[in-house]
Structures are given as structure tokens and as C-alpha cells.
Amino acid sequence: MARPLVCRVADVPENTLKECEAEGGRKLVVANAGGEFVAFQAMCPHQDVPLCEGLFDGQTLTCHMHLWQWDVKSGAPQGIAEAPLERYALVREGDALYLGGESSALDVGELFNGLGPALIEKLSALAKKESHPAGAQLYDKGDPADDFFVLDSGRVQFLIGRDPAGFMLKKGEIFGWAALLESHPQRIASARVIEDAVVLRINGKQALALLESDPASGYVAMRRLAGLIARFFVVAGAK
């Protein structure tokens, strides 16, 4: 299948942004970051504001509405932003830019985003892609915790503590992270599919070994994991 055409190189002058509709209908924003073309989601992950209206200095994109910021090359959130940008690979052929494939859920996710293509590729090699229908219970409290999951599409509800509402997860969000904790062989939460979902299943021990082989990236990932877990304690302490 031919790659979908996104736009022409001349449509996006250096250090500017443009919203484009790729063949097939996907809307995205193309940025020309000092001669390098990158593509990412058209709407701000915060409040669905068009990112093409944002401020762009050739490196950092700022959504004008509530000042969330990202480094467009890595998609990494900066300042007060709470979520990374979902990026898409672009392929340049002559004066045209084509969509190079879907974004990787691993790269979209808050745990591994921006840690570099080499690490993402090795993690992808460890990941098994699984489809689960709505209603499927992925795991329950007390189950053995060997693998963790990254949501690729669909909706998954994550229940932890005494909060009966739980959290509706988004693409790239990680769950089952007990598998990344040492001496914690059991699930402390449960996860159920709400809308047909595709998930990446990754063995916790293998991922930890990979992160140990790249301590700088491993440190960042573990720091983010600590922050992610700490957020759930707001729930535990809440009335």
C-alpha cells in the first residue's frame, strides 16, 4: 500500500508549523524544526485546542491556550505540560512528505517517551501485541504480576485502591506496573477492557534488564515510574 501523502516540503517553511490532512483523512501538524520535518497530533492532548495555532520557535512548541510545551523532536513534555505529544514518522521523497506509519504506543507513553529510538526499538522487540474484546479482564488483584501493559488503542479501565471509578487509560499509558517493582509478584490493582483494545504486553524482568543496560535512560524511566505511582496515592488518601 502506498504511503499517504501529508504535504509538500515547500508548504512548511523553516521554523513554522502547518496543520495537514494526510491522504486517508488523518489530521496532523507538520513542523519544520531547523530543516528537520516532524509530525505530531493536530490537537493539544490537554484540551483539544488546535496545535497549529501554537507558538513555535523552531524547537519548542507552546499551545497558546494554557501554555503546555513540548520539544517537537522528542515529543517530550516541558514545563507545566502533563502529557507527551503523539508523533508520527515522516518519510521524505523529493519535495513530498509521506506518513511513515502509526506512532508507537511505547513512544507516546509517559514512561518511555523521548528515551531514544534505540531503546524504544529494543522494548518493541520485547513487546507482544494482543487484542482483547470489550469486557475482558486483563488481570485482577492478587494475580501474579509478570508482565506490564501499554495501551495501543481502545479503552481500558484501571482500578486501584478503594476508588470504584478508577481511571480510563489513553493510548501510551502504562498499567500493570507492579511487574516493574522488585519483590512484588502480585497485582495490586485490576484492569478491564471497556472498548475493544490492543495492548503491548512486555515482561517486567526483561524490561528491567534492558533498562539496567542503559542506566541513563533507565534512571529517567524509573523516576517517571515513581512519579506515576505517587499520583495514585492521591487516590488512596482521598475521602
Partner: protein, 337 residues
């Protein structure tokens, strides 16, 4: 009515009175729900209905242009629950800071309406019960017989305050301001919700301050100046104020601004040449351009506060991010005009 809000990080449950807007009920219950204008224009408080029935108090609210109504999205500031409801908010929601002023419904009487220019008036409201608020905050205010609420920043600062001062610009077709300017307002009862807004100043900030305001946006800056003066802030930190209006006919609060000789205050006139004045500095130009010229090289340890018409605020944001390279947590504004 029981409301359940599922945010990205946790759920909140609170009660709402019949007809009470879901946003106000949540803020009253100390849930830090997302909002900016709280009065139907900005779209920041959008949520998705999961279960139950809601009533929309203002189906023509401009903020609805940010919604996907077929996906069940609605504005929490305009909708009330009809029975128990369950809703979803896409962002992280944290409990209100302990010690933050309590958001609630308040009432009072208009005590004074005093013209400041041909189209701007000051008015005072005497509250039935005193209110705590932070300098820079606003009230969402409703008048008898006028649909919907409008946001007005407090001009004064006192903790607690029994009397609140505001300024309002006369807007043709603006229900609240036309009512205020009609003469019917004096003595009238008002209902309001607040205090609201995150563009707040406390002396513990310990940073130099830059205020850029267009027109009636100067209101909140006056509150910030009052709070700073009471804490002798000017002797430790620089305070720069840029107040933009079109002509001398549109300027107000000159005496009040001149009462802060230790603050660095500039009036920017966009449509006429400035007069000579020994008391205050006047410059010609749009307020964000005047501020950009005057502030070059002075952005160390600066927190900026912005207010005014949305295009003026956007222009100032652009200067502060791209020229001044301020970090986003040091740029504060609440777009509600």
C-alpha cells in the same frame, strides 16, 4: 444530587443543589476542576457525560465551539445535574490547596457606581458575609433579570473583605454592563460565585513582578499592587506595571497608580501621542510592544501577570515566551473577558 467526576488521576464525588452548575458545585466541594473563565466563553471546563441527565443553562454559550456535543461533551460552568450524574474530565484534577479561599455562592448589594471614563465605571459591592480572596482573583457575577454570569476582577485587597471593588467596561449588548450603566444598579442585590482564578499574587512569591494590562484588565493589577504595598514588597522586589489604553480619554486610575511611587508604572497609549507628566510615565504604542521595549534585559526572576482583551493577552504571551524566554509557570492570566 450526587455528582461523580472521573478525572485522569482519581474520582471526586460531591453534592450539587438543584440548578447549581456542576463546576461551581465541584469547586465548592474543593475539587480543583479545570476552568478559566467559568462563564461560558473559554471552553476549558468541558467534560463528558457518562451517565445521568443534565440541563444546559446557555445552549448558545460561545465556549461550546470547543465541544464535540455528539460525544456527550458539555460545559461544566453552564450545566446543572437533573438527578445523579457521572461525568468524565480528560485532565488531572487535584484537590484545592488547603488554606485556599473557599469558592461559594455569595450575595451582596451594589453600594456605589462611579464613572471612570466615557465607557468604564467602578462599582462597589457590600457582601452579606465577608470573603477571603487572593489578589488577582475574580467573581462570576449575575444581575437580576440578566441571563448568565460575567467575570469581574477585584480591584481592592483585604483579608477578609466585606466590600469588593470592581471596574466594568460598557459593552453594547453586554447584559450585565448595560444593566450596571442603566442606573438601576445602585442598591440592587447581586449574586456571585467565587473567588475564582489562578493568576494570583502572594508576597511569598519573592520574585520581581511584571503586570501587562489592557483596559479594564488593570482591575486585578490594582489588587496585586495593593497587596504588594501592604507587604512592603516594593522595597525588596521590582514591580513593573504596563497599562494600555487607546487615548487619554480612555485612561483611568491615574491617581491610584501614582500612589505607588516605588512601582515602575507606564501608561501605553496606542492611538495618540503621550502627554508630558511628572507623575507617571506615558509611552506611545500597543501595551505589549511598549512593555517589550522597556523590559529588554530585565527579565531575571520575573513573574508576569496578564489581563485584558484576549488578543492583547495573546500578544503579550508571545513576547514573554519568545522574546523574554520566561518559563510558562511564570506567566499567569485568566482569560475571561
Amino acid at each position: 444530587m450526587r455528582i461523580q467526576v472521573n478525572a485522569r488521576n482519581r474520582a471526586y464525588r460531591f453534592d450539587a443543589a438543584p440548578g447549581e452548575k456542576i463546576l461551581y458545585a465541584g469547586l465548592r466541594a474543593q475539587a480543583g476542576l479545570p476552568y478559566e473563565c467559568a462563564t461560558g466563553t473559554c471552553g476549558t471546563c468541558k467534560a463528558k457525560l457518562v451517565d445521568g441527565k443534565i440541563a444546559d443553562g446557555w445552549p448558545a454559550a460561545p465556549g461550546r465551539k470547543y465541544l464535540k456535543p455528539d460525544a456527550g461533551e458539555f460545559l461544566m460552568c453552564q450545566c446543572s445535574a437533573e438527578g445523579d450524574v457521572s461525568i468524565e474530565v480528560a485532565s488531572f484534577v487535584y484537590p484545592a490547596e488547603p488554606g485556599a479561599p473557599r469558592v461559594m455562592s455569595r450575595s451582596g448589594a451594589v453600594r456605589e457606581v462611579r464613572p471612570l471614563t466615557h465607557d468604564v465605571s467602578a462599582f462597589d459591592v457590600e457582601l452579606d458575609a465577608p470573603c477571603e480572596f487572593e489578589a488577582g482573583q475574580f467573581m462570576a457575577m449575575g444581575a437580576p433579570g440578566v441571563a448568565g454570569l460575567r467575570g469581574y476582577s477585584m480591584v481592592n485587597y483585604a483579608a477578609p473583605a466585606r466590600r469588593l471593588s470592581f471596574v466594568a467596561k460598557k459593552k453594547p449588548g453586554g447584559g450585565f454592563s448595560e444593566w450596571l450603566f442603566s442606573g438601576a444598579a445602585r442598591g440592587a442585590r447581586l449574586s456571585m460565585v467565587g473567588p475564582l482564578g489562578k493568576a494570583t499574587f502572594q508576597p511569598a512569591l519573592a520574585k520581581n513582578i511584571l503586570c501587562i494590562a489592557g483596559g479594564s484588565g488593570i482591575a486585578g493589577m490594582m489588587s496585586i499592587l495593593a497587596r504588594a504595598a501592604a507587604a512592603d514588597y516594593f522595597s525588596r522586589y521590582k514591580v513593573h506595571v504596563f497599562f494600555g489604553v487607546r487615548t487619554m480619554r480612555d485612561v483611568f486610575f491615574l491617581d491610584e497608580l501614582a500612589a505607588y511611587p516605588k512601582a515602575d508604572i507606564t501608561i501605553a497609549l496606542s492611538e495618540e501621542d503621550p502627554p508630558q507628566s511628572a507623575r507617571l510615565r506615558f509611552e506611545r504604542g500597543l501595551v505589549h510592544e511598549v512593555a517589550k521595549r522597556a523590559m529588554a534585559g530585565k527579565y531575571q526572576n520575573v513573574r508576569a501577570y496578564l489581563a485584558g482583551p484576549p488578543p492583547a493577552v495573546d500578544a503579550a504571551i508571545r513576547v514573554l515566551l519568545l522574546d523574554a524566554r520566561l518559563t510558562t509557570d511564570n506567566i499567569r492570566y485568566d482569560k475571561f473577558s
